[in-house]
């Protein structure tokens, strides 16, 4: 899994929560969209957990770029956002994200959301 979020504290918390589980290995954690694309292209993770709002390349643009790239199109992309309106979710769906999760919910719920997204796409 690759975790991309420009906020160090949030990223560290998610990596910690995912690291506590046996079924996840965090291959890389990055703080902007361009670095995320490089890491995902290079490491080919099963899942990419990306923040909607990041410098250089935001989560939506990153998702669109990943889905347009044949080598990365099968990566399950989960977009996270703190926005409470529906616009971000609709946009995430439009660019091809596999799941959109509310960043304000507890980490456990986010992890469950990631698991559900993997189950839906059939990736172990």
């Amino acid at each position: 899994m690759v975790v991309a979020d420009d906020n160090h504290h949030f990223r560290a918390g998610m990596v910690r929560a995912l690291g506590n589980r046996d079924d996840f290995t965090v291959l890389a954690q990055v703080e902007d969209g361009a670095a995320a694309f490089d890491a995902i292209s290079r490491l080919r993770p099963d899942v990419a957990l990306v923040d909607a709002r990041m410098p250089v390349l935001d989560g939506f643009a990153l998702t669109a770029r990943l889905k347009a790239d044949a080598a990365c199109a099968d990566v399950t992309v989960v977009v996270l956002s703190a926005r409470t309106d529906d616009a971000a979710g609709i946009r995430a769906q439009a660019v091809g994200a596999d799941a959109y999760l509310d960043k304000t919910q507890p980490r456990r719920s986010i992890v469950e959301g990631v698991l559900a997204a993997i189950g839906r796409t059939g990736t172990p």
Partner: protein, 419 residues
């Protein structure tokens, strides 16, 4: 019939009535004939002008009413007095031209030329309708009076048009500045929103996650949450400090500049000195303080200086404000302005009051942002200063000596990076 057509109809009727009066006047003297001729010419020309130029309806209506009243007065004088003195009629000749002050200079010149040529033609060739009204000295005097009053009207109109052009220029500048202010406001709002989203909101979300983890029994989640709340509080305080501009409201230039420099030094964690000459120390200069605030913000955002020096002095009837810093990587004016809305607005505000703005660099790498504004451009400021000077002054620690502002201990120990 709309109001514009109605006004035109009134003017045409007036011109026709005057023409009829001219033709039917049995014993017209030269001045009488001239007055009627000029009034007729004025009515015709202003009708054409009102027809060709789209004017403010209210103003046009008022001008027509005044012209109508004046022509009626002229006719009344002629009818009542019977044989009015030539001097009186000559004075009355200038009244229609007075209305031309609301018209452009070229139209006034045309009206004057029309009347003048008409008068000279009458004098030179005589008039078929009223042969007795030709070739006397009064006609020439009246013609030269018309020429003189027309010339004065033209000069006044030219000056009025020059001022109108200047007002339009200033109005354009004002609109441009308003646009810049709106842009700056949006930019500032976006900056604050980003700060709140990227720093405070994210930390609060993480804190919430850690509190949830603590409630589920994770022992070290609670101290983490406490640290995150401290950090969020610190971010929030810094954002609030960045929004304040206490110095601009200061009644005294010296106090305001010191307050602004102090805030910048605190945020940038550098040393700032402020030097205000004694004659400007107590001045109330809101414009200069707002310029100073923006120069300091510019330095704060686009450079990483270790020292900032703010100076205010009066020279050649100008107030010179300089902000000097020691970051050599700061761009020259052309590059600085192209990338900075703040500097564009500083330049516009300085030029709007007849001043100027410049950025220079010295051989040792220091950059100086200088604004010069005329002292006389602030009648409000001067009067405030006069009243301020009558009040007892607070004792100043150092009126002329540069004052070094210490770096706040809290910020010096903070691990928060300046934004």
């Amino acid at each position: 019939m709309n109001s514009r057509n109605l006004r035109l109809a009134v003017r045409v009727a007036l011109a026709t009535a005057l023409a009829v009066v001219m033709l039917r006047t049995a014993s017209a003297t030269t001045p009488t004939f001239l007055v009627l001729g000029v009034a007729l010419g004025y009515a015709v020309m202003s009708t054409v002008t009102a027809w060709r130029v789209e004017a403010d309806p209210a103003r046009t209506s008022a001008a027509v009413a005044r012209a109508f009243a004046d022509v009626l007065a002229l006719c009344a004088v002629i009818v009542v007095v019977g044989q009015p003195p030539a001097e009186l009629l000559l004075v009355l000749c200038a009244i229609p031209l007075g209305h031309a002050l609301t018209l452009p200079a070229n139209v006034i010149a045309a009206v004057t030329g029309f009347a003048l040529v008409g008068a000279i033609l009458v004098w030179a060739t005589g008039v078929a309708v009223h042969p007795e009204a030709s070739s006397d000295g009064d006609l020439l005097i009246a013609a030269f009076s018309l020429a003189a009053s027309g010339l004065v009207s033209c000069l006044i109109a030219v000056e009025r048009e020059r001022r109108t052009t200047r007002i339009n220029e200033l109005s354009g500048t004002l609109q441009e500045m308003l646009g810049q202010v709106i842009t700056a406001e949006h930019s500032e709002r976006r900056r604050v929103a980003n700060l709140l989203h990227d720093d405070v909101l994210q930390l609060l979300l993480v804190t919430r996650h850690d509190v949830a983890d603590a409630l589920e029994g994770e022992a070290d989640a609670l101290p983490r949450a406490a640290d995150e709340i401290d950090l969020a509080t610190k971010h929030l305080r810094r954002t609030i400090r960045g929004l304040r501009s206490d110095g601009v409201e200061a009644r005294r230039l010296g106090d305001g500049l010191r307050s602004l420099a102090e805030q910048t030094a605190e945020r940038r964690r550098c040393v700032a000195s402020v030097d205000v000459t004694h004659d400007l120390e107590g001045e109330h200069q809101p414009l200069v303080l707002s310029l100073g605030r923006d120069l300091l913000r510019e330095v704060e955002r686009r450079s990483t200086p270790s020292k900032i020096a703010v100076r205010a002095l009066s020279r050649d009837q100008n107030l010179i404000l300089t902000v000097e810093h020691d970051d050599p990587s700061y761009p020259d004016r052309a590059h600085a302005e192209s990338a900075s809305t703040l500097l564009v607005t500083v330049d516009q505000r300085a030029r709007a009051v007849g001043g100027n703005f410049s950025v220079s660099r010295s051989s040792n790498g220091t950059r100086t942002l200088t604004v010069a504004v005329p002292l006389g451009a602030f009648p409000f400021a001067r009067s405030q200063a006069s009243s301020a000077s009558r009040r007892p002054r607070r004792p100043q620690v150092a009126d002329r000596a540069p004052r070094t502002l210490p770096t706040p201990a809290l910020e010096a120990q903070s691990d928060v990076q300046p934004h």
